[in-house]
């Protein structure tokens, strides 16, 4: 038979079910976000690491102009290197009939001899490349899906100046391209960028690299020192036009995946913490009230010999039991959400298998931390119950000590009706409780604020990146740097309005003992299509001499304006020079390094030379120009900002929309939980007072207003507080997000303020009304009879 004291607990819980349920829902949100994010994190990490291990993802990467195959053995001899794969990698233009713009492809060669090469391919469909087959490719899965390409289809591409028809043998994934994105972009555009894997021999002969390579990847043994290997590798490759070796940290796909994992980890800690904090607060509210109501019962239990720990445990159990249902719901909801999140990630991160599972460890943690939060919330109330002296507990509590508040003494007394005075004094009487209530509500405002902030940030990014910076219709990249005169060839194409040439030079910047691999962009100050714009929409002008660094690069080099840095170019005659930093640009993507075009040409000891150009084209001539570009041999690649934007709007926007929807739902639960509990407790505490007013002839709605005014005041304090908290957290988030990918702009729209405030206000009103309805059911006689 159940113990009488436990029966009491269960019945207390039943009596408090409204409050218990709202609290449990908040716990459920906390547990759900924790389980979803943690398990997604674990699953992504395990999938990635498993993928890397099984398909031998390289540790070190390097590109170069060209080196004979014999160099390979020297690379393999570097201490710590366990495997070497030399490759041919090239950028090509693909002509897909269904895509009016030229499509950029990246050819990556695959060894014909090694059955288990580095960065191995996971074949999804079709067959692998067959040795000896020349015009045959395996294409990347995301690219195939976006364009509806199937094994057996053909595609045309300009390979090293020659138009070829290529047979698609199969469709595959590679650990090198989990995040399949054009280098330099932030958002994927799988319709207009894809990977083509080709036999090493075929690629070699197409790109005049027979028995030679222009790309090499290595794996390292456990004891290898990355920096040493990179140094050795760079010195081996230098005579062959090495562009500088780098580690996984700088590998494009890996960096995106890792950054996403890091963010998941941060959010997976921070968001559940908010919920569990609110849970603790709600339980504190409910239990403190309960202990107050039950002080005589506690005294009685003690007078009959129940020990302090029996009494303490009694209320602790109640707290834990109140959240237990929430934990169970939260785990289920979290697993469901996690499945969805993993599926969303699966759209951007291409894994052979993304095994989503919720580990026992995650479940155990979620149970432990929610019980921890419940106990933390219960501790003060339990302590109060335990320390009530039994004799004291039998006496009714002395009436609370009210006093006139600041507003009243400051001369506002006449302005406040007797009713308003009741409300104000109630808040002032327990300032800490009022503050915590406001804080709880404000957290839900903050949560919404953060959700809407992401929209603001993304729209600002789009506005700056696509509205202000990338204003060209098309960016054309040449296979080789060409004479500045080639601008005229482009300008002469019918429909081309404006041509702005640019130069990109790969280089290593050194400052002290720090170094970075960068691309130095040379541009003209007269440019109107592609400009350098900082986060505040200010145009950055390039000085006639000197170099301008993006903020992230400058920070990572520890360099500031006016410093001299060493520039080692890894192209052409590979000049090494000291250059003065003439400015730091506070850009969105802080990785830019800029020089005035002619200054860069001088640095390179070259005549007017360009790497490509930005074009604007008459809108009705675009198709014709694209068509020409698709088959122009000198053109290695073509990029259209507009199409990137379209693809972004189709995919990323939906993802952010989904997660924001959940955030809104969760925030509403918090707002609802806090206001509902606050109003319920106010009703319980002041039931007699309110019933007396009813007896004295107040109408139900008047009494209801009295009850809700307090909550309304707390909510109106909470909203600006929530803005402040949300703003602070957004600033923290912008610091956490990898600045090398994107520096999130700190920008908040009116809509963000309006929506986060209004949604919480609506949730508060709804829960308030729900409680106010109870006033109608109030049994006046019974309320007046109860002794308190």
């Amino acid at each position: 038979m159940m113990k009488a004291i436990d029966l009491k607990m269960l019945r207390d819980l039943w009596h408090l079910r409204g409050q218990a349920i709202t609290t449990a829902l908040v716990v459920a949100c906390g547990v759900a976000t924790f389980v979803a994010m943690r398990s997604t994190y674990d699953s992504l990490l395990a999938s990635r690491d498993g993928y890397y291990a099984q398909f031998k993802f390289a540790d070190i990467f390097a590109s170069l102009k060209s080196a004979p195959e014999s160099v390979r053995s020297r690379i393999a001899a570097i201490e710590g290197v366990t495997a070497v794969e030399t490759r041919v990698v090239a950028t090509v233009t693909i002509d897909l009939p269904d895509v009016r713009e030229p499509v950029q492809g990246r050819v990556v060669s695959v060894s014909e001899t090694d059955p288990n090469p580095l960065n191995g391919l996971y074949l999804q469909r079709g067959r692998a490349l067959e040795p000896g087959h020349e015009n045959e490719v395996v294409i990347s899965g995301a690219f195939a899906d976006a364009n509806g390409l199937r094994p057996g289809d053909h595609l045309s591409a300009v390979l090293n100046g020659r138009l070829r028809r290529l047979f698609i043998a199969g469709i595959a994934l590679s650990p090198e391209f989990i995040y399949e994105i054009r280098p330099g972009d932030i958002f994927p555009d799988n319709r207009r960028f894809g990977i083509l894997w080709m036999n090493r021999k075929a690629a070699g002969s197409l790109f005049q690299l027979d028995n030679a390579f222009n790309d090499v990847v290595l794996t390292l043994g456990p004891s290898a020192v990355e920096a040493d290997v990179i140094q050795r590798l760079d010195s081996i490759l230098e005579p062959y036009g090495g562009f500088g070796a780098y580690t996984r940290t700088d590998q494009y796909s890996h960096r995106f995946v890792s950054n996403e994992l890091a963010e998941l980890q941060v959010f997976g800690t921070f968001i559940p913490a908010v919920f569990l904090g609110v849970t603790a607060f709600l339980l504190h509210l409910v239990l403190s009230r309960l202990v107050n109501v039950e002080r005589e019962q506690i005294g009685l239990l003690k007078s009959f010999g129940y020990r302090d720990r029996d009494v303490g445990l009694h209320y602790l159990k109640l707290a834990v039991l109140a959240v237990a249902g929430g934990i169970v719901i939260g785990i289920g909801l979290g697993a469901w959400l996690g499945t969805g999140m993993a599926a969303l990630y699966g759209q951007y991160f291409h894994f052979p298998v993304l095994d989503y599972s919720v580990s026992l460890k995650v479940i155990a943690y979620s149970v432990l931390i929610s019980i921890g939060a419940a106990s933390a919330g219960a501790v003060l109330a339990v302590f109060k119950a335990v320390s009530l002296p039994p004799a004291e507990a039998m006496r009714p509590e002395t009436p609370p000590n009210f006093h006139a508040g600041f507003l009243e003494t400051a001369g506002f007394r006449e302005l406040l009706s007797a009713r308003s005075r009741m409300v104000v004094r109630n808040i002032i009487r327990r300032p800490l409780k009022a503050f915590l209530s406001s804080l709880g509500i404000s957290l839900s405002v903050a949560l919404l604020f953060i959700g809407f902030y992401f929209f603001d940030a993304i729209y600002r990014i789009i506005d700056i990146q696509f509205g202000q910076i990338q204003r060209e219709d098309v960016e054309v990249t040449f296979v080789e740097p060409r004479s500045g005169l080639s601008v005229y060839d482009l300008a002469s194409l019918p429909g081309v309005i404006r041509v702005e040439p640019y130069r990109v030079v790969p280089a290593i910047l050194r400052s002290g003992n720090r170094s970075r691999r960068v691309g130095i962009s040379g541009a003209s100050n007269d440019n109107e299509l592609r400009r350098i714009i900082d986060r505040d929409f200010r145009r950055v002008n390039l000085p006639p001499e000197g170099i301008v660094l993006g903020k992230t690069i400058a920070d990572s080099l520890g360099a500031k304006k006016g410093d001299k840095i060493s520039v080692e170019v890894t192209e052409g005659s590979r000049p090494k020079k000291e250059v003065v930093i003439s400015d730091i640009a506070d850009e969105l993507l802080g990785m830019g390094v800029y020089m005035e075009l002619s200054a860069l040409n001088r640095l390179m000891n070259e005549q007017s030379t360009v790497s490509g150009a930005f074009l604007s084209i008459e809108s009705d001539k675009k198709d014709a120009v694209y068509k020409r570009l698709k088959t122009t041999p000198a053109v290695a690649g073509v990029a259209m900002p507009e199409s990137t934007l379209t693809s972004f709007n189709e995919t990323m926007a939906r993802t952010i929309g989904t997660s924001t929807t959940f955030l809104i739902g969760f925030a509403c639960i918090i707002a609802f939980g806090v206001v509902y509990n606050g109003a319920r407790i106010a009703l319980a505490e002041r039931g007699r007072e309110l019933a007396s007013l009813r007896v004295l002839g107040y109408r139900q709605d008047e009494v209801g207003r009295l009850l809700l005014e307090e909550q309304a005041i707390l909510t109106s304090f909470a909203i600006p507080l929530g803005f402040a908290i949300g703003l602070g957290i957004c600033v923290i988030i912008t610091r956490v997000v990898d600045a090398e990918i994107i520096r999130l702009p700190i920008v908040f729209s009116v809509r963000t303020f309006l929506f986060s405030g209004l949604i919480v206000a609506a949730a508060a009103i709804l829960s308030g009304l729900l409680v106010a309805r109870r006033i109608g059911h109030m049994d006046l006689i019974a309320v007046l009879k109860t002794r308190e």
Binding site: K3, A4, I5, L7, K8, R11, D12, H15, E296, Q297, G299, L300, L301, K302, S303, F304, G305, Y306, R307, D308, D310, P389, P390, A391, M394, R787
Partner: protein, 248 residues
């Protein structure tokens, strides 16, 4: 009536004193004012006797009873229960003392509203070493048929009788009742007092009843008059009146 009243008349030998209260004072500090609730009280309670503590409201009765019951500690003086010195006991020891030896009945019944009558009794039997069955104690107060009612479904007198059943279920050595009839009308009050007397004779439990109602004093072996925190006089009744015959 199986036994005559006289067999349970307490013997007045000093050795039979269950409680020895010596020089007990209690001062409440209220800001700058000291409230002397008890002033150097000496008192013995004997095995099996029924005493009534009589005094005006605010005279210190509850304070004294709470100290005897181990609910409170005096500012000065000693209280000895058999071989336990209560005044030097710590909180855990006092708790054990209450748990093992004392049954309390309060003016406002103090039943747990979320538990039925029998569950309220079980609340106590579950932590006692040698309790009587909960049903039996309800029977002793004449409420066996109400055992599954919640407090809200019982009248005041019935609630108080449940409280008595709850206090005696553990077979305490001493039963302390603070104004058990204070909230009740005459008729119900008598029922409650009868239940108390019944326990006292049936089980031989040393019983102290607090009241400000002089009429009730007639049912006691001894009447202790308290005024302004001091014992004014102690009066012995040669014959105990039956509660049913009391008038007030």
């Amino acid at each position: 009536m199986p036994q005559s009243d006289n067999e349970h008349r307490p013997m007045t030998s000093r050795d039979d004193a269950v409680f020895k209260v010596r020089g007990v004072s209690k001062v409440y500090r209220m800001g700058d004012v000291d409230v002397h609730a008890l002033r150097s009280v000496d008192l013995d309670l004997y095995r099996g006797e029924l005493v009534v503590l009589l005094g005006a409201s605010g005279s210190g009765k509850s304070t004294l009873l709470n100290i005897i019951g181990g609910l409170d500690v005096p500012t000065e003086g000693t209280v000895i229960y058999q071989d336990h010195v209560l005044t030097t006991a710590n909180d855990a020891e006092l708790t054990r003392f209450r748990r093992e030896h004392v049954g309390f009945v309060f003016q406002f019944y103090n039943l747990i509203p979320s538990l039925t009558a029998i569950e309220n009794v079980r609340l106590i039997t579950e932590i006692s070493e040698d309790p009587m069955p909960a049903e039996k104690s309800l029977e002793m107060v004449g409420l066996a048929d109400r055992k599954d009612h919640f407090p809200a479904q019982l009248s005041g007198g019935e609630q108080q009788r449940v409280a008595i059943a709850r206090a005696i279920a553990k077979q305490p050595d001493v039963l302390l009742c603070d104004e058990p009839t204070g909230a009740l009308d005459v008729k119900t009050g008598k029922l409650v007092l009868e239940a108390i007397k019944h326990i006292n004779t049936e089980l031989g439990t040393t019983t102290a009843v607090i009241t400000h109602n002089a009429a009730i004093a007639a049912m006691a072996d001894r009447v202790i008059h308290i005024g302004s925190g001091e014992i004014v006089s102690i009066e012995k009744n040669e014959v105990r009146a039956d509660p049913a015959d009391l008038v007030w």
